[in-house]
């Protein structure tokens, strides 16, 4: 039977529909600017800022829905969670919170956003992303600085500076399962088992230039690693560092390396996983580093340097700087968004 133009058109349409979603998946580095009201979106293909979210004053935490259709930001100034359309980057709703927020996290299915409330006595606010309402506040011992959902989605892990505590909460019951530490708890990074469950947590702590290692199954700290003091004394940044000389840590998505930043040394150090061996060639960052985030393919790492209003892009395999990207005022938290 001869192929008609209509048939060819339909075939082309079906093929496009089948393959277009993969072709248009869009990766963006979402960089908050803690002393401004904009968030910078960086295209890792070009390492340029290609868009901005506007109108989130003193933004702190960021999260993206799994399909990238929505972004969420906490505003310290307005004590709200801002909901932003992932395509238009326009604000769609502001959700009032129970207190002053810090960092946020989202469940793997995108149904819940968790907001760390740093105001005393502390809480984790639970936001339902269908109703876009705060449906619960989970009480905590001390204000919450960072809150994470474990990669398998089973637990929340909340860190408190004031409460000097890391709290592990069962996501199903929303009850505390166990706690650890007697020091201010700062950023965390997760290493997983083959089945996706949590194997270890790497924990940055107040006034410690390095990180602690927590065995998740044993519920205990198994060691600490201090970052090298490999900078000439006259080159060491004396701060102030908010009592947090090391405030940026991440496991690459391929699970092969752990990256840890140093504010006094203005460097990032790399450790191989699972043996935690320090690898050569730390990368100089030219400023005080904060949060870190990776591209999904583990090829590039982005580190905010808050006192230079920049983000440093790093080639993960080569452990070399690729470029520095100017963003907004005092960039800190960042995430990677994939829009499908």
């Amino acid at each position: 039977m001869p192929t008609t133009s209509l048939q060819r058109l339909l075939t082309t349409g079906v093929l496009l529909a089948l393959f277009a979603p993969a072709a248009v998946a869009q990766v963006r580095i979402v960089q908050t600017n803690s002393q401004g009201d904009t968030i910078s979106l960086i295209d890792p293909a070009t390492n340029h800022v290609v868009a901005e979210v506007k109108g989130v004053p003193i933004n702190h935490g960021a999260a993206a829905s799994p399909d990238g259709s929505r972004l969420y930001f906490s505003s310290e100034a307005e004590q709200t969670l801002h909901v932003v359309d992932g395509a238009t980057l326009q604000l769609t709703k502001k959700i009032p919170l129970s207190g002053r927020p810090n960092n946020i996290s989202i469940s793997p299915d995108g149904r819940r956003v968790y907001v760390g409330i740093v105001s005393s006595p502390g809480a984790v606010d639970v936001i339902d992303t269908v109703s876009l309402e705060r449906v619960k506040s989970i009480p905590t011992r001390g204000g919450i600085h960072n809150v994470y959902v474990t990669p398998d989605g089973k637990y929340l892990v909340a860190g408190s500076i004031a409460g000097k505590l890391m709290t592990v909460i069962d996501r199903t019951t929303e009850e505390t399962v166990w706690t650890l530490f007697n020091e201010g708890v700062r950023p965390l990074a997760f290493e997983t088992n083959a089945d996706g469950s949590t194997k270890r947590i790497f924990v940055q702590l107040s006034d410690f230039h390095g990180f602690a290692i927590v065995d998740f199954a044993q519920r205990k700290e198994t060691g600490r690693i201090e970052l090298p003091n490999d900078i000439p004394a006259d080159k060491v940044d004396k701060g102030p560092f908010n009592a947090s000389p090391s405030h940026g840590i991440g496991v690459a998505p391929d699970g092969k390396t752990l990256w840890v930043t140093s504010r006094p040394n203005a460097r990032v150090y790399t450790y191989s996983l699972p043996d935690l061996k320090l690898l050569p060639n730390p990368v100089d960052l030219g400023g005080r580093p904060d949060w870190v985030t990776f591209t999904p393919d583990s090829k590039l790492l982005y580190i905010a340097t808050e006192n230079t209003d920049s983000v440093v892009a790093i080639d993960v395999a080569a452990r070399k700087e690729v470029t520095r990207i100017k963003v907004g005022r005092s960039p800190k938290r960042n995430i990677t968004m994939v829009r499908r």
Binding site: I58, S120, F241
Partner: protein, 98 residues
């Protein structure tokens, strides 16, 4: 390197020299003098830059500023109860929501 010791040294240094400073780490600021400013420079900017405070200019009521100070006290800021109120008054008046 012992960071608590470094922080204590920095705190002692700031307490000694704060009256001569114009702001945190020599930063210029447009904040009026007063007891609240002295507390701000002696007890807050040992741990963070002054901009971490001034960035919130115009957003918080006195009660919200007080909440921030209480959090910072829990973090270890060396302010007593009376200073909490003095600083809350100062921030409410000079950086508060209008």
């Amino acid at each position: 390197m012992r960071w608590p010791a470094l922080a204590a040294g920095a705190l002692a240094g700031v307490m000694l020299f704060a009256p001569a400073m114009t702001g945190a780490a020599g930063q210029k600021d447009d904040l009026p003098d007063g007891d609240g400013k002295t507390i701000l420079l002696n007890s807050c900017t040992t741990c963070h830059d002054l901009t971490e405070v001034t960035k919130l200019r115009g957003f918080y009521t006195r009660a919200q500023w007080r909440d921030v100070i209480v959090t910072m006290k829990e973090y270890g800021a060396m302010v007593d109860e009376k200073q909490v109120e003095t600083l809350a008054d100062y921030l409410g008046q000079n950086l508060g929501k209008k």
